[in-house]
């Protein structure tokens, strides 16, 4: 018991250190996710940049359809992203080729334009083509590497593990005599480890908790089957080990052993969401993407699930990407919050700062819409309406994502940048 407490304290210490040191676990770089809609394209996520530090809860808020769920799903590779990179623990796990293709196309168009020119400054045909080919070669290399990383990162990861296992066991086996009675045991152990190592996947370190606990659990599987499915795919065949692990996580999420044999429909909404959480933490993930885990639940049950996630976070040292639209919950739960609007990130800062000094007009409008359990205040509350056309003048100067104050990022153009800095300085 005391050992456990010690362990927990250690974990907590590590976690605090990690947050203090600012160790980056997840880095999203220029992520774009477009969907084709007949003739047009829908820019669901457009040039999003952020970093998630180890051990923190990163909240992602915005109205429905603004691309927060799509961002989550692109990170976990449920979609193939259009362009941009996602780094997890320093390794590139997602890479889109869209941006490189665009550059190539632009270079090609420039060449065609140049060749069309007639008269005195007749272009040098060979030079133009060579210029284009140089660009194309460079971009092609980038595309190749991106495709490789996107598709093969898991296999590379597995290869690393296999190599480690081989390095550990093969010398020992070679040194041993084949008739040695221990040789066989070691060989079996080696084979088992080898098999498991081959099935290691980097992406399983990221797990997802879905919004709707009814739709995300297979009605024909028992709770045990649902929770253990990930481990079975990973290659663990020993039934006793599986059972033990399932009971362990069930206990962790506040359910009991007896629940393992039941089906999802026999549970209440809060318990179902607990099963969803158990399914994700059994894989020992480093990052959990919680996609609106409490939106579909009753108030009293919401509190249960939030408390559970909070406890697990401290106990297991998890990093959580928390996607939600209930700002009171996000404020309560997150360390840093990013606000999204129509595929773009408009503001990113710590949760206290966001609620104290909101800068972007959309954030202001979002904060003014939070309903509070106070009838007198509610009757007086005035909602700020955000109209992008009226609030910004982007006809000349286009906005970009800039750091207004340390750790406080806002999407703005030059004029607004100055304005925001003045606002912050005056406070």
């Amino acid at each position: 018991m005391s050992e456990q407490v010690l362990n927990q304290q250690e974990v907590l210490l590590q976690q605090e250190n990690a947050v203090a040191q600012g160790e980056t676990l997840l880095k999203v770089e220029n992520l774009c996710q477009y969907f084709k809609l007949g003739h047009s394209t829908l820019k669901a996520v457009n040039n999003v940049n952020f970093e998630v530090k180890k051990g923190e809860v990163f909240g992602l808020v915005g109205e429905s359809g603004c691309g927060k769920t799509t961002t989550g799903r692109s990170i976990i590779k449920l979609y193939n992203c259009t362009s941009g990179n996602v780094y997890f623990g320093g390794k590139r796990i997602c890479a889109g080729t869209g941006a490189y293709k665009e550059t190539k196309k632009a270079a090609f168009n420039a060449m065609v334009e140049a060749l069309k020119a007639k008269g005195d400054d007749k272009p040098d045909f060979k030079a133009e083509v060579a210029k284009y080919l140089a660009v194309a070669k460079e971009e092609n290399a980038k595309i190749k590497s991106a495709k490789h990383d996107h598709n093969k990162c898991d296999k590379e990861y597995a290869k690393e593990h296999v190599a480690a296992v081989k390095a550990e066991y093969l010398p020992k086996l070679k040194a041993m005599d084949k008739k040695d009675p221990e040789y066989k045991a070691l060989l079996f152990k080696y084979l088992k480890e080898y098999r498991l190592a081959r099935k290691e996947r980097l992406v399983t370190k990221i797990q997802m908790v879905f919004q709707d606990p009814i739709a995300s659990l297979d009605p024909r599987m028992t709770v045990k089957e649902i929770i253990a499915e990930g481990l079975i795919i990973k290659g663990i065949r020993d039934k006793e080990v599986l059972e033990e692990k399932v009971y362990e996580v069930l206990e962790k999420v506040g359910l009991v052993k007896e629940h393992a044999g039941r089906y999802p429909h026999e549970f209440s909404g809060g318990q179902r969401q607990r099963i969803g959480v158990a399914r994700s933490i059994i894989m020992k993930p480093e990052l959990i993407i919680a996609d609106e885990p409490v939106s579909a639940l009753d108030v009293s049950i919401q509190a249960q699930v939030i408390n559970l996630l909070n406890d697990l976070r401290h106990e297991l040292g998890l990093t959580i990407l928390f996607i939600a639209h209930d700002l009171s919950v996000v404020k309560y739960f997150s360390d840093r919050i990013a606000v999204m609007y129509f595929g773009n990130m408009v503001e990113l800062t710590t949760s206290e700062e966001l609620f104290k000094n909101p800068l972007h007009p959309y954030t202001k409008s979002l904060l003014s819409a939070i309903p509070l359990p106070d009838p007198i205040y509610e009757k007086k509350r005035e909602r700020i309406v955000y109209n992008p056309l009226a609030d910004h003048d982007y006809t000349v100067d286009k906005p970009s994502f800039r750091e207004v104050a340390p750790g406080h990022f806002v999407s703005c153009n030059d004029a607004e940048f100055k304005k925001y800095q003045e606002i912050l300085a005056n406070k």
């Binding site: 915005g62 109205e63 009753d298 108030v299 009293s300 509190a303 009171s328 819409a369 509070l372 106070d374």
Partner: protein, 728 residues
């Protein structure tokens, strides 16, 4: 305030394989005109079941065990499905929780939005026409009666002529006003569209210029009317049309700005004009001998018309109408006195329990005829006791006779189950269920119910006769004419396809759907969940109902859209004096919307009061638990979740249903159900903690701290409002 809806002692259960689930266990509430009543509680507390009963869509296995839902002189639990068809969606509308199943997958969104508007408008016009004609006829008869003449006599014919005249020029009034309405609506719509377009041109964000231009041109041309916009509008519209040529190709719309502004000014001037008094104008056109004099403006014209109408027709008509109304009321009172005598004499027959069902039914028939005859059909506020008398008494008699002294089948079942139950107890175990008693209706109570119905009507008649002097005939006659005019206007208000479309687009914009023109032609599967929910809300609001039931309408939506939709519902409530029942578990939303709140738990209302009562001085432990389990922006400590789950309603607990999850539960909570303790005139709660003998308990710290914060924010003195704990 006028009561719109009364729910009395409603009990609903569900037959299931496992047994009878008691979903609603005797709840009472009233809904007043123009107020929002919020029902709060966990899922499974019976909120939705209650409201499904109100709108008449209870599940197939639901049993309505007792109770009344009174609306507009009808008991909604008794009326037929055909009658319900006329109410549902029209008078009582509902916004459903699940938007996926509420939309038709094979029709375009636009069609689904406008369908209700067009159909409902047609039905409303038809109904208004019937009510108008019927009322006119009754009024004519009453006028004849008041003068004591036969319908065929000289005076009777004059009366009839008057009514016919009224009817004739009222019809012309409708025609004229309808044309005016049409032009006015088009002008208003054109103004909005032009303003939008100007804004977009200024911001260089014009998306679909060609359609917008076409719409503006069409609407401007349709807005030409004698009393709205002159022909100048058409010329200006043509100017705009010419100026805009070539703009689309050049992507430069600046040449359009000037003509658009001129058009806008002209339209605005047209809309701002006073509308003529069509009621009087129609009379003038129908019966006036001379030409309409040329007057400089509409105000003077109105004065002239009004005078003309009063001199020639209205004053005399009102005089007669007053006589008619007074006569009708006097008749009704006389009939009521007769009926009261009849009731008093017949009551002794009903007291005799030896008679058979036929005798009872005969008495009921006589009484029903007497009561129906005594209804004053010209009274605008309906007397629901008289109107529901027939159904109530018949039902009470049916229950009494269907009960009978013995029900063998039920008794057998009970004996068998009881024996089994006793056996288990004899073995020394405690069974986890209780035996449902034999369903033998309490015969004494059923009989008392019959007498109660009769006594109730006698009581109401007595008060009516005692208060016969309290009657303002002038006020009533004005109200009557207003009623007739209102009905006539409802006939004149015509929604055509194009009007419906522009209304639908407006509504879609209001509920926050971007690019409504494009979305209008799409199918439901092309919408996201939040969008579909907004469409469902738009459809419910388009129907312009009397009572709106919102079953967790914004639970799946994000804050901005939620705020937008709540604002929209509030705005519509103010404009149309709508009564709303709002079901939700989000207390923030409740604080925004509700005038009064009822907290439900396990099929009962455990606390009810105004919004201030519930949020500033909650009294029930369940309310405390709900409040403390919800984070707000200042919460830092661990949330206090409510432990456990709601009780199984097949075997509802004996005492307070919340006792098992309640950390303040006392011994008595497990043994007896607490009654409703009254805290103030508006606030009451069902918990033993309010009993004078109960110990004083502190409200949980999370809740009291929040209340303190709220008081500071709103600047309320904290000492004035203390009624927590054991005070009664």
């Amino acid at each position: 305030m006028e009561k719109k809806l009364e729910v009395k002692n409603l009990r609903i259960s569900f037959r299931t394989d496992a047994g009878k689930v008691q979903a609603v266990r005797g709840i009472d509430f009233d809904l007043y005109k123009g107020e929002t009543l919020a029902i709060v509680g966990e899922s499974g507390s019976g909120k939705s079941v209650t409201n499904k009963a109100i709108i008449g869509i209870s599940a197939v296995n639901a049993i309505i065990e007792s109770g009344e839902i009174l609306y507009d002189g009808m008991d909604l639990l008794q009326i037929t499905e055909d009658d319900f068809h006329k109410l549902r969606g029209d008078k009582i509308a509902m916004i459903f929780q699940d938007p996926l199943s509420a939309l038709d997958p094979i029709n375009r969104i636009g069609m689904q939005l406008t369908e209700a508007m067009i159909l409902k408008n047609r039905a409303a016009r038809r109904e208004a026409r019937t009510v108008f004609n019927r009322t006119i006829k009754i009024l004519c008869n009453a006028m004849n009666g008041a003068m004591g003449v036969d319908a065929n006599s000289e005076q009777g014919k004059i009366n009839k002529q008057k009514i016919t005249d009224f009817n004739t020029f009222e019809k012309l009034h409708l025609k004229l006003e309808s044309a005016y309405n049409n032009a006015h609506t088009n002008a208003t719509l054109a103004i909005e569209n032009i303003e939008d377009l100007l804004f977009h041109i200024e911001k260089k964000a014009v998306s679909d210029f060609r359609t917008e231009k076409a719409t503006i041109l069409r609407q401007s041309k349709k807005s030409v009317h004698e009393y709205v916009c002159r022909d100048a509008v058409v010329a200006l519209a043509d100017k705009f049309n010419k100026a805009s040529e070539g703009c689309t190709r050049a992507k430069d719309y600046t040449p359009c700005v000037e003509p658009l502004k001129a058009l806008l000014a002209e339209l605005k001037a047209g809309v701002a004009k006073v509308s003529p008094n069509y009621f009087a104008l129609a009379y003038f056109h129908t019966f006036g001998k001379e030409e309409l004099p040329k007057l400089p403006n509409t105000e003077e014209l109105n004065v002239f018309l009004r005078k003309y109408l009063d001199d020639n027709f209205m004053l005399a008509f009102i005089e007669d109408e007053k006589k008619g109304l007074a006569y009708s009321r006097q008749c009704s009172l006389d009939k009521k006195a007769e009926a009261l005598d009849l009731i008093n004499s017949m009551r002794s027959i009903l007291c005799d329990r030896g008679l058979d069902k036929k005798a009872y039914k005969d008495v009921a028939k006589v009484l029903t005829n007497a009561v129906n005859a005594s209804i004053d059909k010209l009274a605008l506020v309906k007397d629901s006791t008289s109107y529901t008398f027939k159904t109530s008494i018949n039902r009470a008699i049916d229950t009494y006779f269907s009960a009978g002294p013995s029900n063998e089948k039920e008794e057998k079942r009970f004996a068998k189950e009881k024996a089994k139950y006793d056996k288990i107890i004899a073995r020394g175990k405690t069974p986890d269920y209780s035996v449902i008693p034999a369903k033998i209706v309490d015969v004494d109570m059923a009989h008392a119910n019959i007498l109660h119905v009769v006594d109730k009507i006698a009581e109401s008649f007595k008060t009516a006769i005692e208060n016969k002097d309290v009657y303002d005939v002038d006020k009533e006659s004005v109200a009557m004419i207003d009623f007739l005019k209102e009905k006539a206007q409802a006939v004149a208000y015509r929604v055509t396809k194009s009007v419906a479309k522009s209304k639908a687009l407006k509504l879609m914009e209001e509920v926050g759907i971007p690019e409504p023109k494009k979305r209008y032609r799409q199918y439901p599967f092309q919408f996201s969940g939040g969008m579909r929910q907004r469409i469902v809300i738009a459809i419910a609001l388009a129907a312009n109902p009397d009572i709106l039931i919102c079953d967790e309408p914004t639970t799946a939506l994000d804050v901005t859209i939620q705020a937008q939709i709540l604002e929209l519902i509030n705005k519509i409530k103010r404009e149309r004096n709508l009564s709303i029942i709002f079901i939700t578990h989000d207390l923030g939303v409740v604080a925004n919307m509700a005038d009064r709140i009822a907290v439900m738990y396990a099929g009962k209302i455990v606390e009810s009061g105004t919004a201030e009562d519930i949020f500033y001085s909650p009294a029930h432990p369940y309310t405390w638990a709900l409040l403390s389990s919800m984070p707000d922006l200042d919460t830092n400590e661990k949330l206090e979740a409510i432990p456990g789950t709601p009780p199984n309603m097949i075997y509802p607990p004996k005492g307070d249903a919340f006792a098992a999850r309640n950390k303040y539960a006392m011994k008595i909570d497990f043994e007896m159900q607490p009654p409703m303790f009254k805290i103030s005139d508006t606030h009451s709660a069902a918990t033993w903690l309010l009993h004078p003998d109960a110990p004083k308990v502190e409200i949980p710290r999370a809740v009291s701290a929040r209340i303190e914060r709220m008081r500071v924010v709103n600047g309320i003195d904290s000492e004035n409002n203390t009624n927590e704990g054991g005070e009664n």
